[in-house]
């Protein structure tokens, strides 16, 4: 048998080495099962040449001493125990082998690799009919397949009974019932995996499927499901189901959204951005790290310019590292934690559904709600997440709106503190920003060519998040985020240092002062704006000092807050925008946003002054 593409050694290989691949549709509890199987030895890395995250872990099957040959994970040091270990890969969600998104394409590529020893299909026990279609496709690929019917607890609650022995006979593969959430069936699954690893590969693998074949797979799956699934009396609507209906109703869903955003703000904006940041910045860095490093550097480095570079006002350690560790880390950690909780509860698809119509007006689809909500945590991170959107047009619009109108949590914290006590001022500021988001989004959508995006999303049942999964997710994301962001902060502090030494900063501040005065602000505000580019909330913090000195009136506070929110994103976001969308796009955006922010500030100042608003 010769295959026209793919690798040559598909049929002859040792089944004891290689990789076990976990596949399955989104929201079937795949990653939770993955963590149950691998424990804590997990690495998350990008798939070569792409930005899709792949989690790898090691599955220990040493409990089974009866294995005929020792198994060894590739490149693993810990393979000394008897029995051994094998690599396990968790893949992005996949519904069928006809891939649609980039992520699905990657999963397909992993499945077709020559070192796949075993495919584990994780399916939703509640939804066997649709899941089996993928099982049937996987069976054609070659490597042995094990079918895992997960969430058997939820299925039982719904009165679904599955005769998995009959299913095993029909499919001629092992079928294991598990509940990853409760940890049921995991031991049995380990045993089954160890046994099946020695099975031979199916000859004549098939790799490409036509749409007609897909439809016939679905037909067969439906027939199979009818034979093995029995439904008891359909139960009453559960509490979760009723809550779910509330979440997608336009009215109650809107109220729920306000509640969620408020909770998010309290946890990230107040606890993370104020309490935790305050402790790390003032106590840890201010009292311990900075003085200690300063002493060390002064005793080692004789040159003043080098000392400035490291520990000066804008030094690599005192500014760059401190920002990354003391300010970004707590905000990002609390935000990722809250986000993982929201994500695992199944709320996000409901929000996407609720907001799709509104987002269609601004050229986005409901899916864009995920990066936009993330933007309130950190715009830089949200810009990275626009990768998950489907069309180029949608990615561009989302990136632009993030840069223009979505304030990050650090900035929000300071601005709300600045306007605190003036509820009218907060209202004007929020109204102007929201209006800008919608109007500019609408105009961008009108101007940009390209197809309207289609919106479809599966609504998983609402569930209690599993704490272990939330924590592991948060940890891997924070780690990955720091790796991407830390270099930018270090580079930024070098740039500021160069600007200071060469006097470029002074020129820029003087130039900015002219514009700043034109929109009715004192000229000292120019420094705040310049620093706003290096870190969004730093600019706002500069205004805070001015306000305390009594240099800002109520109206100019609102004007400054509006301008600074719209103003060019921070350096890290700008760099990520350039990386994701290209330099040309990033510079074009900055060239628009810069004058636009000041124009808006000027307009708001003019309107408030003419109307004689006293704040």
């Amino acid at each position: 048998m010769t295959s026209c593409h793919g690798t040559a050694q598909t049929t002859t290989k040792q089944t004891a080495t290689g990789t076990i691949v976990l596949v399955g549709a989104p929201n079937v509890g795949k990653s939770l099962l993955f963590h149950r199987l691998t424990g804590t030895y997990v690495t998350v890395s990008n798939y070569p040449g792409t930005t899709v995250e792949i989690a790898r872990g090691v599955l220990s099957i040493s409990t089974l001493t009866s294995s005929p040959s020792p198994l060894r994970g590739r490149g693993e040091q810990r393979g000394k125990e008897d029995g051994g270990e094998i690599e396990l890969i968790d893949t992005p969600g996949l519904r069928s082998l006809l891939p649609i998104t980039d992520e699905e394409q990657i999963t397909r590529e992993i499945l077709l690799r020559h070192d796949v020893a075993l495919i584990v299909h994780v399916a939703d026990a509640k939804d066997l009919e649709r899941s089996l279609a993928l099982t049937l496709q996987l069976l054609e690929l070659g490597p042995p397949v094990v079918l895992v019917l997960n969430m058997i607890d939820e299925a039982a609650q719904l009165g679904i009974e599955i005769d998995h022995r009959v299913l095993e006979e029909k499919l001629k593969i092992p079928v294991v019932l598990t509940s990853a959430l409760e940890g049921r069936g995991i031991a049995e699954l380990r045993e089954t995996l160890a046994q099946v690893l020695h099975n031979a590969e199916k000859p004549n693998p098939k790799r490409d499927f036509s749409l007609e074949e897909m439809i016939s797979f679905h037909r067969r799956a439906r027939a199979l499901a009818h034979e093995v699934v029995r439904y008891a009396q359909r139960p009453r609507r559960s509490l979760a189901e009723r809550l779910s209906q509330l979440a997608v109703h336009p009215l109650s869903g809107g109220l729920l959204l306000v509640l969620v955003l408020w909770g998010l703000y309290e946890f990230v904006g107040v606890f993370g951005a104020q309490i935790a940041v305050g402790f790390l910045e003032n106590t840890v860095f201010g009292e311990y790290v900075n003085p200690w490093v300063a002493q060390l550097v002064q005793s080692v480095l004789p040159w003043a310019w080098a000392r400035d570079l490291l520990i000066g006002e804008y030094g690599v350690i005192t500014l760059g590292l401190r920002y990354a560790i003391a300010i970004i880390l707590p905000i990002v950690t609390t935000f990722f934690l809250a986000f993982a909780l929201i994500e695992d509860s199944g709320y996000l698809p409901r929000l996407a559904m609720l907001i799709d119509r509104l987002f269609k007006l601004i050229g986005l689809s409901g899916r864009a709600v995920i990066p936009i909500v993330l933007g309130f945590g950190c715009d830089t991170m949200a810009t990275l997440v626009t990768r998950t959107l489907e069309t180029r047009r949608e990615k561009l619009i989302a990136t632009f709106l993030l840069a223009l109108a979505i304030p990050c949590s650090a900035q929000l914290g300071v601005i709300l503190g600045l306007l605190a006590g003036h509820s009218l001022a907060v209202g004007i500021w929020a109204g102007v920003i929201a209006l800008n988001f919608l109007v500019i989004g609408y105009l961008t959508a009108k101007l940009l060519p390209g197809e309207r995006s289609l919106f479809y999303i599966e609504i998983p049942p609402l569930r209690w998040p599993a704490l272990s999964n939330v924590l592991v997710k948060t940890y891997t994301r924070v780690q990955w985020y720091l790796k991407e962001i830390l270099p930018f902060f270090l580079i930024a502090s070098v740039v500021i240092w160069v600007g200071q030494i060469t006097g470029v900063f002074g020129i820029l501040v003087n130039a900015l002062a002219v514009i700043v005065q034109a929109i009715g602000l004192p000229k000292e505000a120019a420094v705040a704006f310049l620093f706003g580019f290096f870190r969004r909330d730093y600019g706002a913090a500069g205004l805070y000092d001015l306000h305390n000195a009594g240099a800002l009136s109520g109206v100019s506070l609102v004007v400054a807050a509006v301008t600074l929110t719209l103003f060019v994103p921070c350096v890290a976001q700008f760099m990520i925008t350039a990386k994701e969308r290209g330099w040309k796009t990033a510079i074009a955006m900055a060239l628009f946003i810069f004058p636009y922010a000041f124009l808006m500030g000027w307009l708001v100042n003019g309107v408030l002054t003419v109307l004689g608003v006293q704040l």
């Binding site: 519904r95 069928s96 006809l98 649609i100 939703d124 509640k126 939804d127 009919e129 649709r130 279609a133 719904l158 679904i160 749409l211 897909m214 439809i215 679905h218 037909r219 439906r222 009818h226 439904y231 779910s244 997608v248 336009p250 698809p349 996407a352 559904m353 609720l354 907001i355 799709d356 119509r357 269609k360 689809s365 409901g366 309207r452 289609l454 919106f455 479809y456 999303i457 599966e458 609504i459």
Partner: protein, 145 residues
């Protein structure tokens, strides 16, 4: 239009004829059913415009998008604008022969398929052609399912 009282179907011109003998005159915004005389307020213009606009936006008869909330139906064909969209819908399990229930129409179309729920926008919902499921079929599917 259709009389809400007796179910008689008539046009606006037909109803106008009965206004001639009426003392209120032609300024009145009520239409009388030619069959039973029941008075119906005339549909305001913005409402009929809105209806036409909705229809233009793709709520074609015979598709999922035109069904009332709560309707149970069987998919007979899936015809989206391109192949990509067809793959999407197929992968989600929306194929001819599959039975679904329309849970919501607003703000999005929410359909129930087995124990799964899928949200679709109007464009995708208008690409799914359906036929109504009769009552007795519903009963039989409930007993063998």
């Amino acid at each position: 239009m259709k009389c809400a009282l007796c179910g008689f179907e008539f046009s606006e011109a037909q109803a106008r004829r009965s206004c001639q003998g009426c003392p209120v005159g032609p300024q009145c915004d009520l239409l009388c059913c030619p069959n039973c005389g029941y008075q119906t307020p005339r549909e305001p213009q913005w409402l009929s415009r809105w209806r036409r606009w909705r229809r233009r936006n793709g709520a074609y008869e015979g598709t999922l998008a035109a069904l009332p909330q709560g309707a149970e139906t069987e998919i007979i064909a899936v015809r989206p604008r391109d192949k990509r969209a067809l793959h999407k819908l197929t992968a989600l399990g929306l194929l001819p022969g599959v039975r679904v229930r329309l849970l919501r129409r607003f703000p999005c179309y929410l359909i129930e398929l087995g124990h799964a729920q899928i949200a679709l926008d109007r464009e995708l919902a208008s690409a799914i052609f359906v036929r109504p499921v009769a009552n007795e079929e519903r009963l039989s599917s409930a007993s063998d399912g």
